[in-house]
């Protein structure tokens, strides 16, 4: 972008921070004027990572009005949860944010565990942490790859998917499936780590930092990438907090808010890792934040592999936990418990809890209301993508439409999670 283009009237200079519009915070009303055209951006645009429809009003190629329309993949997850016993809700959770699936499961399982007051064994907490971080790498790799595709840089996508496959191989090794694993259970995880996992995980940890170096070489030294990303979609810390941004989107604005550090769950208080923050809060900082967070995730995984204690992986609580498979053939009580848990489920004390985890996209929360029955009374998910997409309008207004693609991409929304 040359200097003359930036001096075009109505176009804000690069790096000027976004302001919350006076009307609805997530919408920019187009100014009155002739020669404006309103177009549909999406719902099937590759850069929207799903089906996001933006109604964009353009003056030439400058965005002057924007309204987002979401809900194209609304599938009624919350209503579904209300119709299922708690136990049967677990497979639903990862299908919301299909890239950060493990965090969703952790939030839902954590909320139920809070209500039934079940104690999670130490080893299960370490395993959960390990997979939460593997999942974070997985999600950030997809982000990095697709953000390249949006700019027309295809090659990084293949490199990222190469490493993503290794992450998914590790998931497959332990859970049997590559995504949407239903691995966390109330009171622990389904099974212990199999033989050979440590070796493969170590190999991954040794290799991954070099790969991230490569990505950074490809991205950070690339003038096209810098031109497209730097100064775009800038948002300062207080505005980002007011707009509810969380996770890397908030940390890129210089706010070191990371639930793993400020409200430690699982075993994050025993681990050493840095909270990566940016300074300017533009798309570039968000990109670099996510990429560098992968280093920290690798560090955490290494610590998990080093110091994971031995012991049971699921609580010894036959009223809430499925009995071990082998007991079903020999023990009448186990068979009865299994049958009752699978058909009727278990009853959960009445109350309300809110369980939050740091998903790859930010603060993922699960609010659960129980009436004492076997099915949740109300489940509500606080989806970070849903919240962050609200800021699209204020970030993209008065910039070129090409920058809109960068803004949407850099917020890293997953529409499955935003629409639920």
């Amino acid at each position: 972008m040359s200097t003359t283009e930036q001096q075009r009237p109505g176009v804000v200079p690069l790096g000027s921070p976004a302001r919350i519009p006076s009307g609805a915070p997530s919408k920019i009303d187009p100014p009155p004027g002739e020669d404006l055209i309103t177009i549909n951006f999406g719902p099937n645009h590759p850069s929207t990572h799903g089906v996001l429809r933006l109604i964009v009003t353009l003056d030439g190629e400058v965005v002057v009005g924007l309204d987002a329309d979401i809900g194209y993949v609304h599938t009624g997850f919350e209503k579904n949860f209300e119709q299922k016993t708690y136990w049967k809700g677990i497979p639903y959770a990862p299908r919301m944010d299909y890239l950060g699936f493990f965090a969703n499961e952790l939030a839902y399982v954590g909320a139920v565990e809070k209500l039934i007051g079940i104690e999670v064994p130490e080893r299960a907490k370490w395993i959960r942490t390990l997979f939460a971080e593997l999942n974070r790498i997985h999600s950030h790799l997809i982000f990095l790859g697709t953000s390249g595709v949006e700019l027309g840089a295809i090659s990084l996508f293949f490199y990222c998917l190469r490493e993503r496959d290794k992450v998914l191989d590790l998931f497959e090794m332990v859970t049997g499936v590559r995504m949407h694993d239903r691995y966390p259970q109330f009171g622990g995880v389904l099974e212990d780590l199999p033989k050979g996992f440590y070796g493969e995980a170590r190999k991954f940890c040794d290799e991954m930092p070099h790969r991230i170096d490569e990505y950074l070489d490809l991205v950070a030294g690339n003038p096209i990438w810098e031109d497209r990303y730097k100064g775009i979609g800038t948002i300062d810390g207080p505005t980002a907090i007011a707009m509810g941004l969380s996770g890397p989107n908030l940390r890129a604005s210089g706010v070191p808010y990371d639930l793993r550090r400020s409200e430690p769950y699982l075993i994050y208080d025993q681990l050493e890792f840095d909270v990566i923050t940016g300074r300017k809060g533009d798309a570039w900082d968000r990109l670099i934040c996510r990429t560098k967070e992968m280093y920290e995730s690798v560090r955490i995984i290494e610590q998990c592999l080093d110091s994971m204690p031995a012991g049971p992986v699921i609580a010894d609580d036959r009223k809430h936990v499925l009995p071990p498979r082998h007991e079903l053939h020999t023990s009448m009580e186990s068979l009865i418990h299994h049958f009752k848990l699978v058909t009727e489920g278990f009853r959960v004390p009445p109350g309300q809890v809110y369980c939050t985890v740091e998903s790859p996209r930010g603060e993922f929360g699960c609010y659960l209301v129980s009436d004492g029955g076997a099915k949740p009374w109300r489940v509500h998910f606080r989806a970070p993508s849903f919240v962050s997409l609200q800021s699209t309008a204020m970030m993209a207004v008065n910039r070129y439409i090409a920058d809109l693609i960068v803004v949407v991409g850099s917020l890293d929304g997953v529409m499955g999670e935003a629409d639920r």
Binding site: T85, I241, K375, W377, V387
Partner: protein, 191 residues
């Protein structure tokens, strides 16, 4: 700050704002706020108590809460998917005073832990509640979603339209009396 201290602080600043209601199992300080004082309490929470981060807004429909239903296998017609309630509650639960509740989860973003607080406001069917968009702009879509899903009207919201469902949709899917299990057809009610 625990719930009692918090309630005291709020009462000193915004008198008569809180209702004293018994709570079931809760995991964070939970205050029941009177509908009319909501905005004052929210401003106090944000400006004086540092709750600068609105994490979520949730509306809950309590229709049939705690009432026993026809048991595991449902009614004589088979499992009645449209019946409200869960699969029966073995213990007596505290009935909410009204049909709906709107729940706000607040947090502090900055130094120290988030120190989460939950505010809940009980509403009758058809009652409106003040929008908190002037306090936390992020409430925009949260409130639109709850309007769409549960049908709570947030007065003063700048753009209260359906968000997730199609704009011409009838009904609010997360209400407990919203029919599920298929659309009514010719022989739906045949025995």
């Amino acid at each position: 700050m625990n719930a009692a201290e918090l309630a005291e602080a709020v009462a000193a600043r915004v008198p008569e704002a809180l209702e004293d209601r018994p709570q079931g199992l809760v995991d964070m300080p939970t205050l029941t706020v009177r509908k009319d004082s909501l905005l004052d309490v929210c401003r106090f929470m944000r400006d004086d108590l540092g709750k600068n981060f609105l994490s979520a807004v949730t509306a809950v429909d309590f229709l049939g809460y705690g009432e026993p239903v026809a048991g595991y296998f449902g009614t004589e017609r088979g499992r009645d998917l449209n019946a409200v309630g869960s699969w029966g509650s073995p213990e007596t639960v505290e009935q909410p005073p009204t049909r709906f509740a709107v729940v706000y989860h607040l947090a502090h973003v900055g130094e120290g832990p988030p120190a989460r607080v939950r505010l809940q406001v009980f509403l009758e069917d058809g009652e409106e509640i003040a929008s908190v968009v002037p306090v936390w702009p992020t409430a925009d879509w949260h409130e639109r979603e709850q309007f769409d899903m549960v049908g709570i009207v947030f007065s003063g919201h700048p753009n209260l339209k359906r968000l997730l469902m199609p704009s011409d949709w009838a009904g609010h899917p997360l209400r407990k009396d919203y029919p599920i299990g298929g659309e009514p057809v010719q022989f739906t009610d045949a025995r």
